[in-house]
Symmetry: C2
Subunit: 329 residues, 2 copies
């Protein structure tokens, strides 16, 4: 009896504003080899893809050639799984004012390899489901707490893409509809991201320092130099004002999650990104607010977990998991 | 060539707090025959099911016997599709303090007919997808604006049930987290339902009448006798205060939908229920607020539709559509 030789590897591309990092990933989620290029030194997407494919050749050769590769998955800003495009991505010079057919371009230059592209937050959720703490889960929300707030929603075992491929922008759920709510980069006001991102924490710090005369270690830092890391360090040292900043941030996130639950009743919230390093400083007020504000019938059902994927590799693993979906759906 | 004779009919059960209405539905969504029993004259669920099955016999016989019936679908408060149960439904005497295995009980007494049960809002969404304005859609939100606010969410062509079968309670999305927000029947404050239901409209009317001295037709009615219907009649006659009540209600609903879109980017919102009879009085401020508050990337993508299913039959059609899902998934 002979069986078709299985293709052993997937390529994951973490396409960021600065670097594009490729990883060859095996079926166990082990990254076998990596390579990278600068994302923005190319004015045209064709030149970017050409350079990327050239950089990939040695690592593909190292695993026995393209014949051993199953697919390429891409996690990119404004990635559209339905169209295989990256569309109007503000921070990408070759895609900021148009939709580029990234999947098609890569496939053509990689021996018609199946290629799928989605945004980084959805890739992260797929990474958690394939290799991380969400293995076996069919309903969960993955929330990235970084410079902004990203989200990937899994319902009925599938990423929720919506009618246009762009569902799951929970960082832009409006938490405060009042006129004096915080201005968001999206042009609106009161978005979750203005409170619960790293920049949101720094913003809260500046507000709290201005509103009170309370003594704080944070007063030693120039307000415009303040970061969420310094707030968490100060809180760790017992600084009460710093602790109140995390209480406020966590409460806002817990309230938001209570609202998200009325939508999809997930079995877990999985948090990823820089802000999670604050640990219980953040998670304790999240849980308290969630428990206070969630509808009774959902109480005690959702787990609150921190991603177990190593930060530096998570995006590559997520992207490689996107590649695997192209062969299923 | 012979083909297996197809089972032609589905039974839909609209299980309400007062009446339980059964309809035999053909594949085109035509209701062939109906029968009903009182829901609450039975103390035990077994007696309820026994009476229901007795009432069903003549209508089943009228379509040629149980052999022509494909399945029974039930839309019931706190219906759980995963378990086939009705669980802790406050308004059902035989299920208010327990989970009753309704699907199993019906199936046992109906010749092992496949039976599925979900809540009325999900049934309504399935009804729209099978027979109504959502035919062919894979991503939409169905919102029932009645005494309360119910919702059924369809994503990737499937009802969103979540980890416990109870996802999609958008009427309990908290719109106002402040301490003086409106008290909701769920025990919390500021839920969408306290503003955008028929009772919410009446509540807004009482508040607006109390807060101002403005002349209004509504002042001729005792405050505790005010209903949303009277507000819409007054607004139709040009009453400015009544119109402001609908502006407020519609704006709240539009803001809520703008937030829902960040979740699942639906191709349509479909509204059903008594409040939709207000027509443009309600829908115009909904659309204005939605357009103002929705994230730019989603602008112009979602349609806003009113259900086309006839009110009296919609619940039966929805329930029968639930029955059809039991044969697929």
């Amino acid at each position: 009896m002979t069986t078709q030789p299985e293709k052993k590897y997937t390529i994951g591309l973490d396409l960021g504003g600065t670097n594009s990092v490729f990883g060859i990933v095996d079926h166990h989620g082990k990254i076998i080899a990596t390579t990278s290029i600068k994302t923005q030194v190319y004015q045209k997407v064709e030149d970017y893809v050409h350079a990327a494919v050239a950089a990939l050749q040695p690592v593909i050769a190292a695993v026995g050639g393209i014949g051993n590769i199953q697919s390429l998955g891409i996690g990119a800003p404004k990635g559209n799984i339905y169209e295989g495009t990256v569309e109007y991505a503000a921070n990408l010079v070759w895609a900021h004012d148009c939709a580029v057919p990234l999947a098609k371009l890569f496939s053509e230059q990689l021996d018609h390899l199946p290629v799928a592209v989605t945004n980084d937050a959805n890739a992260a959720a797929l990474g958690e489901m394939t290799y991380g703490v969400a293995q076996g889960m069919k309903n969960f929300i993955d929330i990235t707490l970084g410079t902004g707030v990203g989200s990937g929603i899994v319902a009925n075992g599938q990423i929720l893409y919506g009618c246009d491929g762009f569902a799951g922008e929970l960082g832009h759920m409006i938490m405060d509809f009042s006129k004096d709510a915080r201005q968001c980069g999206c042009g609106r006001k009161g978005c979750l991201e203005t409170y619960c991102s790293a920049t949101g924490v720094a913003r809260t710090a500046r507000e709290f320092l201005k509103e009170s005369q309370e003594e704080s270690l944070l007063r030693r830092i120039e307000p415009d130099q303040l970061t969420s890391l310094e707030v968490s360090i100060a809180a760790g040292k017992g600084d009460r004002l710093a602790k109140r900043i995390y209480d406020f941030t966590g409460a806002m996130l817990g309230k938001a999650c209570a609202n998200f639950t009325t939508f999809c009743s997930p079995e877990a919230y999985i948090f990823f990104g820089g802000l999670t390093k604050a640990g219980d400083l953040l998670m304790k007020p999240v849980l308290e607010a969630y428990d206070k504000y969630v509808l009774n019938m959902y109480k005690g059902k959702a787990k609150f977990l921190i991603s177990s994927l190593p930060g530096s590799n998570a995006a590559i693993l997520g992207a490689s998991a996107v590649g695997q979906t192209v062969l299923k759906g």
